[in-house]
Amino acid sequence: MSLLPVLPVIIPLLTAALSLAMARHRTLQRGLSLAGSAGLVAAAVTLLATVRHEGIIAVEIGSWPAPFGIVLVADMLSAIMVLASSLLGLSVVVYALGNVDQARVSFGFHPLFHALLMGVCGAFLTGDLFNLYVWFEVMLMASFVLLALGGEKNQLAGAFKYVTLNFIASSFFLTGIGLLYGKTGTLNMADLAQKTASQSDSGLMLTSAMLLFLAFGIKAAVFPLFSWLPASYHTPPTAVTAIFAALLTKVGVYALIRMFTLVFIQNTALTHGLILGVSAATMVVGVLGAAAHFDIRRILSFHIISQIGYMTLGLGFFTVAGIAGAIFYVVHNMIVKTNLFLAGGIVNHLRGTFNLKYLGGLYRAYPLLAFLFLVSALSQAGVPPLSGFLAKLMVIRAGLAVGEYALVAVALAVGILTLYSMTKIWTEAFWKEPPTEYPSGEKNTPAGVPWLLLAPVMALTALTIGLGLFPESFIQMTQEAAEQLMDRTAYIRAVLGPVP
Protein backbone atom coordinates (compact mmCIF):
# COMPACT_ATOMS: atom_id res chain seq x y z
CA MET A 1 0.00 0.00 0.00
CA SER A 2 1.37 3.34 -1.04
CA LEU A 3 1.34 6.16 1.49
CA LEU A 4 1.93 8.79 -1.16
CA PRO A 5 -1.56 10.37 -1.06
CA VAL A 6 -1.16 10.94 2.69
CA LEU A 7 1.96 13.08 2.29
CA PRO A 8 0.24 16.28 1.03
CA VAL A 9 -1.77 16.25 4.25
CA ILE A 10 1.02 15.23 6.62
CA ILE A 11 3.65 17.69 5.39
CA PRO A 12 1.60 20.87 6.00
CA LEU A 13 0.40 19.41 9.32
CA LEU A 14 3.96 18.85 10.52
CA THR A 15 5.04 22.24 9.24
CA ALA A 16 2.14 23.94 11.01
CA ALA A 17 2.79 22.09 14.27
CA LEU A 18 6.56 22.68 14.24
CA SER A 19 6.29 26.33 13.30
CA LEU A 20 3.73 26.79 16.06
CA ALA A 21 6.23 25.29 18.49
CA MET A 22 8.85 27.76 17.24
CA ALA A 23 6.58 30.77 17.57
CA ARG A 24 9.33 32.68 19.40
CA HIS A 25 11.98 32.22 16.69
CA ARG A 26 10.70 34.12 13.72
CA THR A 27 13.66 33.44 11.43
CA LEU A 28 13.54 29.72 12.15
CA GLN A 29 9.79 29.74 11.60
CA ARG A 30 10.12 31.41 8.22
CA GLY A 31 12.79 28.94 7.12
CA LEU A 32 10.61 26.06 8.24
CA SER A 33 7.61 27.48 6.41
CA LEU A 34 9.65 27.73 3.22
CA ALA A 35 11.01 24.20 3.62
CA GLY A 36 7.53 22.83 4.32
CA SER A 37 6.07 24.38 1.16
CA ALA A 38 8.99 23.13 -0.92
CA GLY A 39 8.49 19.65 0.54
CA LEU A 40 4.81 19.84 -0.37
CA VAL A 41 5.69 20.68 -3.97
CA ALA A 42 8.06 17.70 -4.12
CA ALA A 43 5.40 15.37 -2.70
CA ALA A 44 2.81 16.71 -5.14
CA VAL A 45 5.09 16.22 -8.14
CA THR A 46 5.80 12.64 -7.08
CA LEU A 47 2.11 12.01 -6.54
CA LEU A 48 1.14 13.29 -9.98
CA ALA A 49 3.89 11.28 -11.67
CA THR A 50 2.85 8.12 -9.81
CA VAL A 51 -0.86 8.55 -10.47
CA ARG A 52 -0.20 9.18 -14.14
CA HIS A 53 1.98 6.12 -14.37
CA GLU A 54 0.07 3.65 -12.21
CA GLY A 55 -3.50 4.91 -12.22
CA ILE A 56 -5.72 5.94 -9.33
CA ILE A 57 -4.28 5.32 -5.86
CA ALA A 58 -6.57 4.76 -2.89
CA VAL A 59 -5.36 4.56 0.71
CA GLU A 60 -7.53 3.17 3.46
CA ILE A 61 -6.80 5.17 6.59
CA GLY A 62 -6.22 2.91 9.59
CA SER A 63 -6.69 -0.09 7.26
CA TRP A 64 -10.45 0.01 7.67
CA PRO A 65 -11.85 -1.49 4.47
CA ALA A 66 -13.29 0.93 1.96
CA PRO A 67 -16.99 1.65 2.36
CA PHE A 68 -16.63 1.70 6.16
CA GLY A 69 -13.37 3.52 6.80
CA ILE A 70 -12.21 6.80 5.37
CA VAL A 71 -10.22 6.63 2.13
CA LEU A 72 -7.88 9.09 0.54
CA VAL A 73 -8.06 8.81 -3.24
CA ALA A 74 -5.64 10.39 -5.66
CA ASP A 75 -6.84 10.43 -9.24
CA MET A 76 -5.53 12.71 -11.98
CA LEU A 77 -7.83 15.58 -11.00
CA SER A 78 -6.83 15.43 -7.33
CA ALA A 79 -3.14 15.14 -8.19
CA ILE A 80 -3.25 18.10 -10.59
CA MET A 81 -5.09 20.23 -8.06
CA VAL A 82 -2.69 19.31 -5.25
CA LEU A 83 0.29 20.15 -7.43
CA ALA A 84 -1.14 23.51 -8.50
CA SER A 85 -2.02 24.38 -4.89
CA SER A 86 1.41 23.45 -3.63
CA LEU A 87 3.13 25.56 -6.30
CA LEU A 88 1.03 28.57 -5.37
CA GLY A 89 1.58 27.86 -1.69
CA LEU A 90 5.32 28.02 -2.26
CA SER A 91 5.14 31.28 -4.24
CA VAL A 92 2.92 32.95 -1.69
CA VAL A 93 5.14 31.84 1.21
CA VAL A 94 8.10 33.51 -0.50
CA TYR A 95 6.02 36.62 -1.09
CA ALA A 96 4.77 36.57 2.50
CA LEU A 97 8.36 36.76 3.77
CA GLY A 98 8.46 40.28 2.38
CA ASN A 99 4.81 41.25 2.72
CA VAL A 100 3.42 40.05 6.05
CA ASP A 101 4.42 42.25 9.00
CA GLN A 102 6.18 41.13 12.17
CA ALA A 103 3.08 41.34 14.34
CA ARG A 104 1.10 39.00 12.12
CA VAL A 105 4.01 36.55 11.96
CA SER A 106 4.25 36.61 15.76
CA PHE A 107 0.54 35.83 16.02
CA GLY A 108 0.94 32.72 13.92
CA PHE A 109 0.68 33.62 10.25
CA HIS A 110 2.87 30.69 9.14
CA PRO A 111 1.16 27.92 11.15
CA LEU A 112 -2.22 29.15 9.92
CA PHE A 113 -1.02 29.28 6.34
CA HIS A 114 0.05 25.65 6.47
CA ALA A 115 -3.16 24.63 8.22
CA LEU A 116 -4.96 26.21 5.27
CA LEU A 117 -2.83 24.23 2.81
CA MET A 118 -3.52 21.05 4.79
CA GLY A 119 -7.28 21.64 4.60
CA VAL A 120 -7.11 22.32 0.88
CA CYS A 121 -5.00 19.24 0.08
CA GLY A 122 -7.20 17.10 2.32
CA ALA A 123 -10.31 18.29 0.51
CA PHE A 124 -8.73 17.44 -2.86
CA LEU A 125 -7.71 13.96 -1.78
CA THR A 126 -10.51 12.62 0.36
CA GLY A 127 -12.87 9.98 -0.97
CA ASP A 128 -15.47 10.38 1.76
CA LEU A 129 -18.19 13.01 1.77
CA PHE A 130 -18.23 13.70 5.49
CA ASN A 131 -14.47 13.83 5.51
CA LEU A 132 -14.73 16.45 2.77
CA TYR A 133 -16.89 18.50 5.15
CA VAL A 134 -14.23 18.17 7.85
CA TRP A 135 -11.46 19.31 5.47
CA PHE A 136 -13.61 22.23 4.39
CA GLU A 137 -13.91 23.24 8.01
CA VAL A 138 -10.15 22.88 8.61
CA MET A 139 -9.55 25.12 5.62
CA LEU A 140 -12.23 27.61 6.63
CA MET A 141 -11.15 27.83 10.24
CA ALA A 142 -7.60 28.68 9.12
CA SER A 143 -8.96 31.19 6.61
CA PHE A 144 -11.20 32.84 9.24
CA VAL A 145 -8.23 33.53 11.45
CA LEU A 146 -5.98 34.60 8.56
CA LEU A 147 -8.65 37.01 7.42
CA ALA A 148 -9.14 38.57 10.86
CA LEU A 149 -5.45 38.44 11.84
CA GLY A 150 -4.29 41.98 12.53
CA GLY A 151 -7.69 43.12 13.71
CA GLU A 152 -8.05 46.24 11.58
CA LYS A 153 -11.49 47.77 11.42
CA ASN A 154 -12.46 46.79 7.88
CA GLN A 155 -10.84 43.37 8.31
CA LEU A 156 -13.16 42.59 11.22
CA ALA A 157 -16.21 43.78 9.32
CA GLY A 158 -15.24 41.67 6.29
CA ALA A 159 -14.43 38.65 8.43
CA PHE A 160 -17.82 38.69 10.16
CA LYS A 161 -19.67 38.44 6.86
CA TYR A 162 -17.27 35.80 5.63
CA VAL A 163 -17.69 33.64 8.75
CA THR A 164 -21.48 33.93 8.72
CA LEU A 165 -21.93 33.05 5.07
CA ASN A 166 -19.48 30.18 5.24
CA PHE A 167 -21.23 28.79 8.30
CA ILE A 168 -24.50 28.87 6.39
CA ALA A 169 -22.83 27.10 3.47
CA SER A 170 -21.49 24.44 5.82
CA SER A 171 -24.97 23.96 7.26
CA PHE A 172 -26.38 23.37 3.78
CA PHE A 173 -23.54 20.96 3.09
CA LEU A 174 -24.21 19.04 6.30
CA THR A 175 -27.95 18.93 5.61
CA GLY A 176 -27.25 17.48 2.19
CA ILE A 177 -24.93 14.91 3.73
CA GLY A 178 -27.55 13.97 6.33
CA LEU A 179 -30.26 13.40 3.75
CA LEU A 180 -27.93 11.48 1.49
CA TYR A 181 -26.86 9.25 4.36
CA GLY A 182 -30.45 8.68 5.41
CA LYS A 183 -31.26 7.66 1.85
CA THR A 184 -28.27 5.48 0.96
CA GLY A 185 -26.58 4.55 4.24
CA THR A 186 -23.10 5.41 2.97
CA LEU A 187 -20.89 8.45 2.62
CA ASN A 188 -18.01 6.91 0.70
CA MET A 189 -18.07 8.70 -2.64
CA ALA A 190 -17.36 5.61 -4.72
CA ASP A 191 -19.95 3.61 -2.81
CA LEU A 192 -22.43 6.47 -3.24
CA ALA A 193 -21.75 6.49 -6.96
CA GLN A 194 -22.44 2.77 -7.16
CA LYS A 195 -25.57 2.80 -4.99
CA THR A 196 -27.15 5.85 -6.55
CA ALA A 197 -26.54 4.68 -10.12
CA SER A 198 -29.50 2.35 -9.76
CA GLN A 199 -31.77 4.85 -7.96
CA SER A 200 -34.76 5.43 -10.13
CA ASP A 201 -36.64 7.50 -7.52
CA SER A 202 -34.57 10.63 -7.65
CA GLY A 203 -36.55 13.10 -5.52
CA LEU A 204 -34.35 12.87 -2.44
CA MET A 205 -31.22 12.59 -4.57
CA LEU A 206 -32.15 15.84 -6.24
CA THR A 207 -32.74 17.50 -2.87
CA SER A 208 -29.29 16.47 -1.70
CA ALA A 209 -27.78 17.47 -5.02
CA MET A 210 -29.27 20.95 -4.79
CA LEU A 211 -28.25 21.38 -1.15
CA LEU A 212 -24.67 20.44 -1.99
CA PHE A 213 -24.82 22.65 -5.07
CA LEU A 214 -25.81 25.56 -2.83
CA ALA A 215 -23.06 24.77 -0.34
CA PHE A 216 -20.31 24.41 -2.95
CA GLY A 217 -21.77 27.30 -4.91
CA ILE A 218 -21.34 29.61 -1.92
CA LYS A 219 -17.75 28.42 -1.46
CA ALA A 220 -17.01 28.77 -5.18
CA ALA A 221 -18.74 32.19 -5.24
CA VAL A 222 -21.10 31.58 -8.18
CA PHE A 223 -24.04 33.83 -8.96
CA PRO A 224 -26.10 34.70 -6.87
CA LEU A 225 -24.14 33.41 -3.88
CA PHE A 226 -20.93 35.41 -4.24
CA SER A 227 -21.59 38.49 -2.13
CA TRP A 228 -19.25 37.42 0.70
CA LEU A 229 -16.24 37.48 -1.62
CA PRO A 230 -16.01 41.13 -2.66
CA ALA A 231 -17.04 42.09 0.89
CA SER A 232 -14.02 40.48 2.49
CA TYR A 233 -11.20 39.76 0.04
CA HIS A 234 -9.84 43.30 -0.15
CA THR A 235 -9.22 43.60 3.59
CA PRO A 236 -6.25 41.40 4.64
CA PRO A 237 -2.58 41.76 3.55
CA THR A 238 -1.87 40.91 -0.09
CA ALA A 239 -0.28 37.54 0.64
CA VAL A 240 -3.44 36.37 2.41
CA THR A 241 -5.77 37.65 -0.32
CA ALA A 242 -3.59 36.02 -2.95
CA ILE A 243 -3.67 32.57 -1.37
CA PHE A 244 -7.43 32.88 -0.78
CA ALA A 245 -7.93 33.83 -4.41
CA ALA A 246 -5.77 30.91 -5.47
CA LEU A 247 -7.30 28.18 -3.37
CA LEU A 248 -10.60 28.77 -1.58
CA THR A 249 -13.01 29.26 -4.45
CA LYS A 250 -11.21 26.57 -6.45
CA VAL A 251 -11.90 24.02 -3.72
CA GLY A 252 -15.57 24.80 -4.21
CA VAL A 253 -15.19 24.28 -7.95
CA TYR A 254 -13.31 21.03 -7.35
CA ALA A 255 -16.09 19.77 -5.07
CA LEU A 256 -18.67 20.66 -7.71
CA ILE A 257 -16.71 18.82 -10.41
CA ARG A 258 -16.23 15.79 -8.16
CA MET A 259 -19.81 15.43 -6.97
CA PHE A 260 -21.47 16.30 -10.26
CA THR A 261 -19.43 13.82 -12.26
CA LEU A 262 -19.29 10.98 -9.75
CA VAL A 263 -22.54 10.95 -7.79
CA PHE A 264 -25.21 13.35 -9.04
CA ILE A 265 -25.61 12.28 -12.63
CA GLN A 266 -29.12 10.82 -12.50
CA ASN A 267 -30.81 13.88 -13.95
CA THR A 268 -28.16 15.75 -15.89
CA ALA A 269 -30.65 17.67 -18.02
CA LEU A 270 -31.81 19.46 -14.87
CA THR A 271 -28.69 19.65 -12.68
CA HIS A 272 -26.13 20.38 -15.36
CA GLY A 273 -28.57 22.67 -17.15
CA LEU A 274 -28.83 24.64 -13.91
CA ILE A 275 -25.03 24.73 -13.68
CA LEU A 276 -24.87 26.17 -17.21
CA GLY A 277 -27.38 28.91 -16.43
CA VAL A 278 -25.66 29.82 -13.18
CA SER A 279 -22.29 29.87 -14.95
CA ALA A 280 -23.46 32.34 -17.56
CA ALA A 281 -24.93 34.64 -14.91
CA THR A 282 -21.75 34.35 -12.84
CA MET A 283 -19.53 35.37 -15.75
CA VAL A 284 -21.65 38.37 -16.67
CA VAL A 285 -22.34 39.70 -13.17
CA GLY A 286 -18.74 39.23 -12.09
CA VAL A 287 -17.28 41.14 -15.00
CA LEU A 288 -19.85 43.96 -14.70
CA GLY A 289 -19.06 44.28 -11.01
CA ALA A 290 -15.39 44.56 -11.90
CA ALA A 291 -16.07 47.27 -14.45
CA ALA A 292 -17.74 49.43 -11.79
CA HIS A 293 -14.84 49.53 -9.33
CA PHE A 294 -11.69 51.63 -8.98
CA ASP A 295 -9.73 49.72 -6.34
CA ILE A 296 -7.31 47.14 -7.75
CA ARG A 297 -8.17 44.49 -5.18
CA ARG A 298 -11.91 44.95 -5.59
CA ILE A 299 -11.66 44.73 -9.37
CA LEU A 300 -9.61 41.56 -9.10
CA SER A 301 -12.04 40.11 -6.54
CA PHE A 302 -14.94 40.54 -8.96
CA HIS A 303 -12.84 38.91 -11.67
CA ILE A 304 -12.44 35.84 -9.47
CA ILE A 305 -16.22 35.48 -9.62
CA SER A 306 -16.40 36.05 -13.34
CA GLN A 307 -13.69 33.47 -14.04
CA ILE A 308 -15.39 30.87 -11.83
CA GLY A 309 -18.22 31.00 -14.35
CA TYR A 310 -15.96 29.65 -17.11
CA MET A 311 -14.89 26.72 -14.93
CA THR A 312 -18.41 25.67 -14.02
CA LEU A 313 -19.42 26.21 -17.64
CA GLY A 314 -16.98 23.46 -18.61
CA LEU A 315 -18.53 21.19 -15.99
CA GLY A 316 -22.04 22.05 -17.19
CA PHE A 317 -21.27 20.87 -20.75
CA PHE A 318 -20.60 17.47 -19.15
CA THR A 319 -18.35 16.11 -21.88
CA VAL A 320 -14.73 14.99 -21.66
CA ALA A 321 -13.67 18.10 -23.58
CA GLY A 322 -15.69 20.39 -21.34
CA ILE A 323 -14.33 18.98 -18.11
CA ALA A 324 -10.77 18.94 -19.46
CA GLY A 325 -11.28 22.61 -20.31
CA ALA A 326 -12.62 23.31 -16.83
CA ILE A 327 -9.58 21.68 -15.21
CA PHE A 328 -7.19 23.59 -17.46
CA TYR A 329 -9.09 26.76 -16.63
CA VAL A 330 -8.88 26.15 -12.89
CA VAL A 331 -5.11 25.69 -12.97
CA HIS A 332 -4.54 28.62 -15.34
CA ASN A 333 -6.73 30.86 -13.21
CA MET A 334 -5.06 29.86 -9.95
CA ILE A 335 -1.71 30.94 -11.38
CA VAL A 336 -2.82 34.13 -13.10
CA LYS A 337 -5.21 35.38 -10.44
CA THR A 338 -2.68 34.91 -7.67
CA ASN A 339 -0.08 36.65 -9.78
CA LEU A 340 -2.32 39.65 -10.38
CA PHE A 341 -2.98 40.00 -6.66
CA LEU A 342 0.72 39.68 -5.89
CA ALA A 343 1.63 42.30 -8.50
CA GLY A 344 -1.16 44.55 -7.21
CA GLY A 345 0.36 44.16 -3.77
CA ILE A 346 3.70 45.40 -5.10
CA VAL A 347 1.93 48.46 -6.52
CA ASN A 348 0.51 49.09 -3.05
CA HIS A 349 3.96 48.57 -1.55
CA LEU A 350 5.39 51.22 -3.89
CA ARG A 351 2.61 53.79 -3.76
CA GLY A 352 0.73 53.04 -0.54
CA THR A 353 -2.68 52.73 -2.19
CA PHE A 354 -4.78 50.35 -4.26
CA ASN A 355 -6.98 53.12 -5.60
CA LEU A 356 -6.48 53.66 -9.32
CA LYS A 357 -7.30 57.37 -8.99
CA TYR A 358 -4.11 57.97 -7.02
CA LEU A 359 -1.91 55.73 -9.14
CA GLY A 360 -0.13 56.35 -12.41
CA GLY A 361 3.20 56.61 -14.11
CA LEU A 362 4.46 53.32 -12.75
CA TYR A 363 5.48 52.17 -16.22
CA ARG A 364 8.25 54.75 -16.41
CA ALA A 365 9.57 53.99 -12.93
CA TYR A 366 9.14 50.21 -12.90
CA PRO A 367 9.00 48.82 -16.45
CA LEU A 368 9.63 45.24 -15.34
CA LEU A 369 6.68 45.27 -12.94
CA ALA A 370 4.50 46.84 -15.62
CA PHE A 371 5.47 44.08 -18.03
CA LEU A 372 4.79 41.31 -15.51
CA PHE A 373 1.37 42.73 -14.65
CA LEU A 374 0.51 43.16 -18.31
CA VAL A 375 1.32 39.52 -19.12
CA SER A 376 -0.96 38.23 -16.38
CA ALA A 377 -3.69 40.72 -17.23
CA LEU A 378 -3.67 39.72 -20.90
CA SER A 379 -3.51 36.05 -19.95
CA GLN A 380 -6.60 36.45 -17.78
CA ALA A 381 -8.40 38.22 -20.62
CA GLY A 382 -7.50 35.36 -22.96
CA VAL A 383 -4.99 36.86 -25.37
CA PRO A 384 -2.85 34.33 -27.27
CA PRO A 385 -0.32 32.82 -26.81
CA LEU A 386 -0.82 32.89 -23.04
CA SER A 387 -2.45 30.16 -20.96
CA GLY A 388 -5.73 32.07 -20.64
CA PHE A 389 -6.29 31.87 -24.38
CA LEU A 390 -5.98 28.09 -24.41
CA ALA A 391 -8.17 27.73 -21.33
CA LYS A 392 -10.94 29.77 -22.94
CA LEU A 393 -10.44 28.00 -26.26
CA MET A 394 -10.87 24.57 -24.65
CA VAL A 395 -14.06 25.56 -22.83
CA ILE A 396 -15.51 27.32 -25.89
CA ARG A 397 -14.73 24.46 -28.25
CA ALA A 398 -16.42 22.09 -25.83
CA GLY A 399 -19.43 24.40 -25.90
CA LEU A 400 -19.53 24.47 -29.69
CA ALA A 401 -19.28 20.69 -29.77
CA VAL A 402 -22.50 20.34 -27.77
CA GLY A 403 -24.21 23.16 -29.68
CA GLU A 404 -24.58 25.69 -26.84
CA TYR A 405 -24.03 28.69 -29.10
CA ALA A 406 -25.72 31.25 -26.84
CA LEU A 407 -23.47 30.33 -23.90
CA VAL A 408 -20.40 30.47 -26.13
CA ALA A 409 -21.42 33.96 -27.22
CA VAL A 410 -21.77 35.03 -23.58
CA ALA A 411 -18.35 33.58 -22.77
CA LEU A 412 -16.76 35.47 -25.66
CA ALA A 413 -18.46 38.74 -24.76
CA VAL A 414 -17.34 38.40 -21.15
CA GLY A 415 -13.81 37.82 -22.47
CA ILE A 416 -13.92 41.20 -24.20
CA LEU A 417 -15.23 42.93 -21.06
CA THR A 418 -12.45 41.25 -19.08
CA LEU A 419 -9.94 42.66 -21.52
CA TYR A 420 -11.47 46.11 -21.05
CA SER A 421 -11.31 45.84 -17.29
CA MET A 422 -7.73 44.54 -17.28
CA THR A 423 -6.51 47.28 -19.60
CA LYS A 424 -8.27 49.77 -17.33
CA ILE A 425 -6.12 48.69 -14.40
CA TRP A 426 -3.01 48.68 -16.50
CA THR A 427 -3.46 52.06 -18.13
CA GLU A 428 -4.61 53.72 -14.91
CA ALA A 429 -1.87 52.31 -12.70
CA PHE A 430 1.05 52.09 -15.09
CA TRP A 431 0.49 54.11 -18.22
CA LYS A 432 -1.24 57.41 -17.42
CA GLU A 433 0.65 60.43 -16.04
CA PRO A 434 1.33 60.34 -12.29
CA PRO A 435 -1.50 62.03 -10.42
CA THR A 436 -0.98 65.49 -8.96
CA GLU A 437 -3.04 64.94 -5.81
CA TYR A 438 -2.54 62.22 -3.24
CA PRO A 439 -4.72 61.25 -0.31
CA SER A 440 -3.07 62.67 2.78
CA GLY A 441 -0.07 60.73 4.03
CA GLU A 442 -0.25 58.03 1.37
CA LYS A 443 2.59 59.05 -0.88
CA ASN A 444 5.71 57.13 -0.12
CA THR A 445 8.35 56.07 -2.57
CA PRO A 446 10.57 53.18 -1.49
CA ALA A 447 13.74 52.87 -3.54
CA GLY A 448 12.95 49.65 -5.35
CA VAL A 449 10.91 46.49 -5.44
CA PRO A 450 12.14 43.92 -2.90
CA TRP A 451 13.27 40.70 -4.55
CA LEU A 452 11.17 38.63 -2.20
CA LEU A 453 8.07 40.24 -3.68
CA LEU A 454 9.25 40.26 -7.28
CA ALA A 455 10.61 36.70 -7.51
CA PRO A 456 7.26 34.88 -7.06
CA VAL A 457 5.59 37.21 -9.56
CA MET A 458 8.33 36.48 -12.12
CA ALA A 459 8.04 32.75 -11.52
CA LEU A 460 4.27 32.73 -11.93
CA THR A 461 4.47 34.90 -15.05
CA ALA A 462 6.94 32.44 -16.52
CA LEU A 463 4.48 29.68 -15.65
CA THR A 464 1.57 31.28 -17.50
CA ILE A 465 3.75 31.96 -20.55
CA GLY A 466 5.13 28.43 -20.41
CA LEU A 467 1.68 26.93 -20.10
CA GLY A 468 0.62 28.97 -23.12
CA LEU A 469 3.59 28.09 -25.33
CA PHE A 470 4.05 24.42 -24.43
CA PRO A 471 0.62 23.21 -23.42
CA GLU A 472 0.63 19.76 -25.05
CA SER A 473 1.60 17.62 -22.10
CA PHE A 474 -0.63 19.52 -19.69
CA ILE A 475 -3.62 19.37 -22.02
CA GLN A 476 -2.92 15.65 -22.30
CA MET A 477 -3.07 15.40 -18.49
CA THR A 478 -6.33 17.31 -18.23
CA GLN A 479 -7.77 15.02 -20.91
CA GLU A 480 -6.76 11.97 -18.90
CA ALA A 481 -8.24 13.51 -15.76
CA ALA A 482 -11.51 14.27 -17.55
CA GLU A 483 -11.69 10.76 -19.00
CA GLN A 484 -11.22 9.30 -15.52
CA LEU A 485 -14.01 11.51 -14.23
CA MET A 486 -16.47 10.69 -16.98
CA ASP A 487 -15.80 6.97 -16.83
CA ARG A 488 -16.48 6.38 -13.17
CA THR A 489 -15.62 2.67 -13.10
CA ALA A 490 -11.88 3.21 -12.62
CA TYR A 491 -12.49 5.40 -9.57
CA ILE A 492 -15.01 2.98 -8.07
CA ARG A 493 -12.74 0.01 -8.71
CA ALA A 494 -9.72 1.74 -7.16
CA VAL A 495 -11.67 2.43 -3.97
CA LEU A 496 -13.91 -0.60 -3.55
CA GLY A 497 -11.92 -3.26 -5.37
CA PRO A 498 -13.17 -5.20 -8.41
CA VAL A 499 -16.87 -4.69 -9.05
CA PRO A 500 -18.75 -7.99 -8.74
Binding site: A157, K161, T164, F167, S170, S171, L174, T175
Partner: protein, 115 residues
Protein backbone atom coordinates in the same frame (compact mmCIF):
# COMPACT_ATOMS: atom_id res chain seq x y z
CA UNK B 1 -41.66 10.44 16.82
CA UNK B 2 -40.10 11.19 13.43
CA UNK B 3 -42.91 13.63 12.71
CA UNK B 4 -42.32 15.49 15.97
CA UNK B 5 -38.59 15.70 15.32
CA UNK B 6 -39.20 16.82 11.75
CA UNK B 7 -41.35 19.67 13.03
CA UNK B 8 -38.78 20.63 15.66
CA UNK B 9 -36.09 20.64 12.95
CA UNK B 10 -38.27 22.86 10.79
CA UNK B 11 -38.97 25.28 13.63
CA UNK B 12 -35.26 25.48 14.48
CA UNK B 13 -34.41 26.18 10.83
CA UNK B 14 -37.11 28.82 10.55
CA UNK B 15 -36.08 30.55 13.77
CA UNK B 16 -32.41 30.36 12.83
CA UNK B 17 -32.94 31.83 9.38
CA UNK B 18 -35.15 34.59 10.83
CA UNK B 19 -32.38 35.52 13.25
CA UNK B 20 -29.74 35.35 10.50
CA UNK B 21 -31.66 37.98 8.59
CA UNK B 22 -31.55 40.43 11.52
CA UNK B 23 -29.13 43.33 11.52
CA UNK B 24 -27.72 42.81 14.98
CA UNK B 25 -24.52 40.75 15.12
CA UNK B 26 -25.46 39.03 18.37
CA UNK B 27 -28.77 37.89 16.88
CA UNK B 28 -27.00 36.62 13.78
CA UNK B 29 -24.79 34.49 16.01
CA UNK B 30 -27.83 33.09 17.82
CA UNK B 31 -29.19 32.30 14.37
CA UNK B 32 -26.04 30.37 13.52
CA UNK B 33 -26.49 28.43 16.76
CA UNK B 34 -30.08 27.47 15.93
CA UNK B 35 -29.28 26.45 12.36
CA UNK B 36 -26.43 24.30 13.65
CA UNK B 37 -28.79 22.50 16.03
CA UNK B 38 -31.38 22.07 13.30
CA UNK B 39 -28.85 20.36 11.03
CA UNK B 40 -27.68 18.01 13.77
CA UNK B 41 -31.24 17.03 14.58
CA UNK B 42 -31.91 16.47 10.90
CA UNK B 43 -29.00 14.04 10.56
CA UNK B 44 -30.16 12.28 13.72
CA UNK B 45 -33.69 11.89 12.38
CA UNK B 46 -32.70 11.03 8.81
CA UNK B 47 -30.50 8.15 9.95
CA UNK B 48 -33.54 6.44 11.50
CA UNK B 49 -34.78 6.29 15.07
CA UNK B 50 -34.69 3.15 17.21
CA UNK B 51 -36.24 3.28 20.65
CA UNK B 52 -34.37 2.24 23.82
CA UNK B 53 -31.52 0.38 22.14
CA UNK B 54 -27.84 1.15 22.02
CA UNK B 55 -25.43 -0.11 19.38
CA UNK B 56 -23.47 -2.29 21.82
CA UNK B 57 -22.74 -5.97 21.32
CA UNK B 58 -24.22 -7.78 24.34
CA UNK B 59 -21.85 -9.99 26.37
CA UNK B 60 -21.54 -13.50 25.04
CA UNK B 61 -22.72 -12.48 21.59
CA UNK B 62 -20.66 -12.13 18.41
CA UNK B 63 -22.55 -9.40 16.61
CA UNK B 64 -25.21 -6.75 16.99
CA UNK B 65 -28.74 -8.00 16.81
CA UNK B 66 -31.24 -5.75 15.06
CA UNK B 67 -32.93 -3.44 15.72
CA UNK B 68 -30.14 -1.14 16.76
CA UNK B 69 -29.59 2.57 16.12
CA UNK B 70 -26.94 3.65 13.64
CA UNK B 71 -23.82 4.66 15.56
CA UNK B 72 -22.23 6.33 12.53
CA UNK B 73 -24.86 9.06 12.34
CA UNK B 74 -24.24 9.83 15.99
CA UNK B 75 -20.51 9.99 15.37
CA UNK B 76 -21.16 12.42 12.50
CA UNK B 77 -23.30 14.62 14.73
CA UNK B 78 -20.66 14.57 17.44
CA UNK B 79 -18.04 15.76 14.92
CA UNK B 80 -20.41 18.41 13.59
CA UNK B 81 -21.17 19.63 17.12
CA UNK B 82 -17.47 20.01 17.91
CA UNK B 83 -16.77 21.88 14.67
CA UNK B 84 -19.86 24.05 15.08
CA UNK B 85 -18.83 24.84 18.65
CA UNK B 86 -15.39 25.93 17.48
CA UNK B 87 -16.76 28.19 14.77
CA UNK B 88 -19.35 29.67 17.10
CA UNK B 89 -16.72 30.43 19.73
CA UNK B 90 -14.65 32.15 17.06
CA UNK B 91 -17.66 34.07 15.76
CA UNK B 92 -18.46 35.29 19.30
CA UNK B 93 -14.92 36.56 19.83
CA UNK B 94 -14.94 38.14 16.39
CA UNK B 95 -18.25 39.89 17.03
CA UNK B 96 -17.03 41.12 20.42
CA UNK B 97 -13.80 42.42 18.89
CA UNK B 98 -15.72 44.08 16.05
CA UNK B 99 -18.00 45.73 18.59
CA UNK B 100 -15.01 46.92 20.63
CA UNK B 101 -13.28 48.40 17.56
CA UNK B 102 -16.25 49.87 15.68
CA UNK B 103 -18.60 50.53 18.60
CA UNK B 104 -21.62 49.10 16.82
CA UNK B 105 -23.55 45.84 16.80
CA UNK B 106 -25.42 46.72 13.62
CA UNK B 107 -24.25 44.96 10.46
CA UNK B 108 -25.45 47.79 8.21
CA UNK B 109 -23.53 50.41 10.15
CA UNK B 110 -20.52 48.14 9.92
CA UNK B 111 -20.82 48.41 6.16
CA UNK B 112 -20.80 52.19 6.35
CA UNK B 113 -17.90 52.41 8.77
CA UNK B 114 -15.76 50.17 6.54
CA UNK B 115 -16.14 51.24 2.92
Amino acid sequence: METVLAFITGILFAGGIYLLLRRSMSKVILGLLLVGHAVNLLIFTAAGLVRSRSPLIPPGSERLSPPYPDPLAQALILTAIVIGFGILAFALVLAYRTFAVTGTDDVDELQESAP
